[in-house]
Structures are given as structure tokens and as C-alpha cells.
Symmetry: C2
DNA sequence: CGTCCCGATACAGAATAATGCATCATTCGT
DNA sequence: ACGAATGATGCATTATTCTGTATCGGGACG
């Protein structure tokens, strides 16, 4: 229905498809339901800003505010860069575990309000899931998530959450250095503009 | 509550303030209520994607999808450009008329569904209101709007709407050429990033 | 001191997004 | 021909946005 967001949503969809990510996969990564995404993409629903951000972030995109004046410049930049080959690292066996974790965090966020810690956790999880983890690392993550699950409703959750956030981030940082080559873009990111 | 959109919203607010636009003024331009905007800006409410787009467009901004990889580049571009002096052309006496018109269009859109024509009208109005119109031109606009108002509920609205859209756009095009110098940016468009 | 504009807040009501399932028709690989 | 995965749809329920309108305290200006 809403015309303004149409182009943005269409772009997101194109990129999702070009990256070979299914709605279901995306829904898990983004913490939304497949049904939801389908309706958004087919224009039957106008997403909330944060839903849309979740979607796009899960596609390795950022939503940015740009002065109208230099939209063309940015468009140029983007288009130039959008050539190469690979597609985003899709579902590993562990995906479901991560998906659940992300859901959990999301739920906690809008139950107790979002905190910097919860947010860090969410972010880190998104990062971790697209990395190949050794058994040992995976083990650590599993434990942390389990701990989060256990304490989610506890009155004393705050410090626990903080600790978990810290541990996850530590892991993330350690990986960020040794990380070998990884997936890259594939989409085109065009527009459908026609001004008078 | 939602952390992801926080930065975006904060940016929008900064820019609004830097441009010397009040919430009320913005609310009129964007077709939202002041109350709504206040709540969005103070984080008490998570806007819908289209609401947010309306807001930002009214501030001469575009919401763009950018691959994470080249966020820094875009940021550079934007920041470089953001120096000068003026502020966005604020309320003229005619503003209220335009505001009402925009509201009307919005209402029609979500009453009968948005059409390309309605959208064109909305867009054009947004453009026209920031231009100094001669009495004659203003007269034309006033008539067109009045016509729209009259036919809004009519069963035969479609062709009328189409005609109005066309007329408005014609006016817009004629202005786009002769247009003298006009307002420019003033804001900074920074970020609050801190990665690990 | 009075007035005007600002942003924040309240509140009732209508409209919609979003969840959580479940299902279906199609397409694709085997 | 079969099974798996994809996107579209339906539906009931809950949560949230958004409108409209009105008020309030604060700051600026005269």
C-alpha cells in the first residue's frame, strides 16, 4: 500500500534473492517469521522501522540517512562496488540453535526493555553464526546461550546477561583477528528512479 | 526501546533541529501529528517504516540501503558535504494550505489504497511548498487542491485525481527549470559508532 | 506579566503490525 | 514420481502504532 517504502523493500528483496537466501532463512536470522517477511515483500504489509532494519541487517545491509542532494553520488558508489561473486554464508547445522538464541534475545528485549548488553549479545550472535566455529568454540557458545535461557526470567538476570555479553564479545574479538577469507556480495542494488 | 533504529532516529532529530524545523512544522510537512513525532524522537514509540520515511523526506533526506562494507565510504561522502550555512525554507503563510492538502492525500491513500497518481500528487506538493510561488501559480495550486477536496469521496474520483496529478506535475516541471537559488544544508550528519 | 511557540504527555479509539501455526501450489533436484 | 524446500495465504490473538485532540511546563519576546 505504501508507496514510499516500496523501492526500499524491493531492493531488499532483490538482494535477498541474489544472495540465495530464502525467506525462511532470513526470517531466522532476522528474528521475524517467514509469514511476516512474505507479506512485507509482497507489499501486503508495511513493516515497522525496526523490523525492516532487522531484515536488512541480516542481509549485510545498512539503512542510512542521506541528504537528497547526494543520493546520486551514493548510488554511484554503491553500484560501482556491486560486482563480485560469492553469496552470503547460508545455513549450517548450528543455525537453528542460533536462531532460537536470537529469538530469545529479541523476546527479552521487548520484555524487559533493550539494554546495551542484550544488544551486544544480539549483534555478536549474528556475527558468530556466519563464522565456522571449532567444536570447542561452539561448545562455549552453547553454554552461554543455555545460561541465558536459564536466567532469562530471573530477577537477578542483569549481571548474568552482562557477563554473557562480555564472554560472547571476547570470543568474537578473538575470531575477528584470525578469521580467514569469507563470503562477499553478489547483488546489484539498483534503483527504479525516474524523476522529472 | 528498539536499539537498532535509535541511531537513525537520533540523526533525524539532530538534522531537524539543526535545520530549525519544529516538530509541529515537520509534522505538517510529513503528514503526521506532532504528538507522534515527539514520541518517536524520544524513543517512546517505534515508528513504522513509512512514517519514518515521511519524516526524513520532509527533511530533505533519503533513506538508503547500503552494503555494510561501504558504510564508511558513504559516511565520508556525507560528512564532507555537510558544511554550509542555510536552513530549510520554513513556514510561509501558505504552509497550512499545503499541510491540509498533504493530509488529505494521505487519508485518501489509505482509504482507497495508494495509486501512482496520489503518490505523484503527494510528492509534488512537497516540492511545491518549498518554492516561492507567484500569485498566479499559487492560485492554480489552490484550485487544484480544492478540486481534489471536492472529489475526494466521489465514485468518479480516479480520472479527476489523475488530471490533478498531471497538472501539478506540469507546474512542478515548469518551476524546476527557472528555479533560482534556494536553501541548503546545515546539519552535520554524524554517527555514534563504536565497534570492537 | 501576558503571549506565543516549543516539546512532552495523556488518553480514547481505530487501524495495523506481528506472532505463531498450518496449509497449499510450485519448483527443483534426484 | 517422490520428497524437500520455497513463497504465498489464512487465521486467531496480541501488541503496537497512529490519529485526534487537549493539556502542561518552560523558554523567549514584548
Amino acid at each position: 500500500m505504501a508507496y514510499q517504502s516500496e523501492s526500499l523493500i524491493a531492493q531488499a528483496r532483490e538482494i535477498r534473492e541474489a544472495s540465495g537466501v530464502s525467506q525462511r532463512a532470513l526470517s531466522e536470522r532476522a528474528g521475524l517469521t517467514q509469514s511476516h517477511i512474505s507479506q512485507i515483500e509482497s507489499g501486503k504489509l508495511e513493516p515497522g522501522l525496526s523490523s525492516f532494519i532487522d531484515m536488512t541487517r541480516a542481509l549485510d545491509l545498512e539503512l542510512m540517512l542521506v541528504p537528497k542532494k547526494l543520493v546520486p553520488a551514493v548510488l554511484g558508489l554503491v553500484k560501482a562496488q556491486a560486482m563480485p561473486d560469492m553469496h552470503i554464508h547460508a545455513g549450517q547445522p548450528n543455525d537453528k540453535r542460533f536462531a532460537r538464541a536470537e529469538r530469545l534475545v529479541k523476546k527479552m528485549k521487548h520484555l524487559y526493555g533493550s539494554s546495551a548488553d542484550l544488544d551486544r549479545i544480539e549483534d555478536t550472535i549474528r556475527f558468530l553464526r556466519r563464522v565456522n566455529l571449532s567444536d570447542q568454540e561452539m561448545q562455549l557458545v552453547r553454554e552461554l546461550i543455555a545460561r541465558l535461557e536459564r536466567y532469562q526470567a530471573s530477577a537477578q538476570a542483569a549481571p548474568v546477561v552482562h557477563d554473557i555479553a562480555q564472554n560472547l564479545q571476547r570470543l568474537r574479538n578473538s575470531l575477528a583477528h584470525a578469521a580467514p577469507s569469507e563470503p562477499r556480495p553478489a547483488y546489484s542494488l539498483d534503483d527504479g528512479d525516474a524523476d522529472a
